[in-house]
Symmetry: C2
Subunit: 130 residues, 2 copies
Amino acid sequence: MLITVDFLSDSPIYIQIYEQIVFGIAAGSLCSGESLPSVRRLAEDIGVNLHTVNKAYRLLSDDGYIRLEHRTGAQVVGIGLSHADIMPYLTDRLRLLAAQAVVLGMSEREFANLASEEYRKIDSKRTAGK
Amino acid sequence: MLITVDFLSDSPIYIQIYEQIVFGIAAGSLCSGESLPSVRRLAEDIGVNLHTVNKAYRLLSDDGYIRLEHRTGAQVVGIGLSHADIMPYLTDRLRLLAAQAVVLGMSEREFANLASEEYRKIDSKRTAGK
DNA sequence: TCGATTGTTATATTAGATATATAACAATTT
DNA sequence: AAATTGTTATATATCTAATATAACAATCGA
C-alpha cells in the first residue's frame, strides 16, 4: 500500500501515517496478518525519520490496529479483532461532529446519512476485494 | 454558560474553549445574537491568558460560529446562519471515524445509529429550551 | 467630544510537541 | 552467529501553545 506525506500539512506526519494505515485496513488494502514495512524501510521510502514512523506505529499498536514484535515487525490485526477500547474516543469525536452538524443546520437524518455514506465508501472498497 | 478548562488535558486550552462553545451553541445554552464574555473577562474567569481566549474566539469566528466586533464583543451567529464552509472539514473528520468504525467491526447501521444518537442528545437539549 | 471597553497587534519568554540525526540495545528469526 | 526487527537514549532544531506586558484601533455611551 502506498503511503505519502504532505510536509506542508497542518497535521503532524506521524498522524498522517497513522490515518492512512487505518484507512488502508478499513478499505481492505491491508489484510489481517499482513506485514507492514519496517520502520526503517517506510521511513526511507517516504523520506522521513525512523522515529516519526515509529511514533505512528506505536500509536497504531496502542489503539489495537497492529501488533509489534521484534524481528517479525508490524502486522495488521484485522477487522473486529482488536482488543483495544477506542469506542470512548470514537464517541467523543463523533459528539463534536454532531454538534457542528447541528450548528450547521443539518437535520439528524442528514447527519446520519452522511455518516452512512462515508462508512459505505470505505467499506465497499474492502467488499469489492481491493 | 460555564466554561472550564483542564490544564492536564492533551488537547490545547484554546481547543477546549472552542469545543465547549460549539457545544453550547448546538445545545441551546448560547442563543443566536447572544454575547460571549470579553476575552479579558473569560480569560480571568477560567484562569488563562487573554491570548488563549482570543485564539479560541478567532478560530470560532473563522469557522462562522461567532462574529467579532470592537466594543460590541463576540456574538453568537446561531443555528444555520453561518456562511463559513466547514462541510469539507466535517466530512473529512467523519471519514476517519467511519474507517475506525469499520475496523472496530461496527456495521453501517450501528455507525449511523451512533451518529444519530449523539446528534439527538445535543439537539434535544436545545429543543427542550435549555 | 471624551472616555471606557472591545478586539487586535506587537514583542518577548517559557514550555512542550514535532521531527531529525546518531548510536546503541534487545529480541527473534534464519 | 548474523542479520533484521522494534526499542531506547541523547542531542538538536523548529514549531506550537501559553503566558506576560504593552500598546493600538474601533466603537459605543454618557
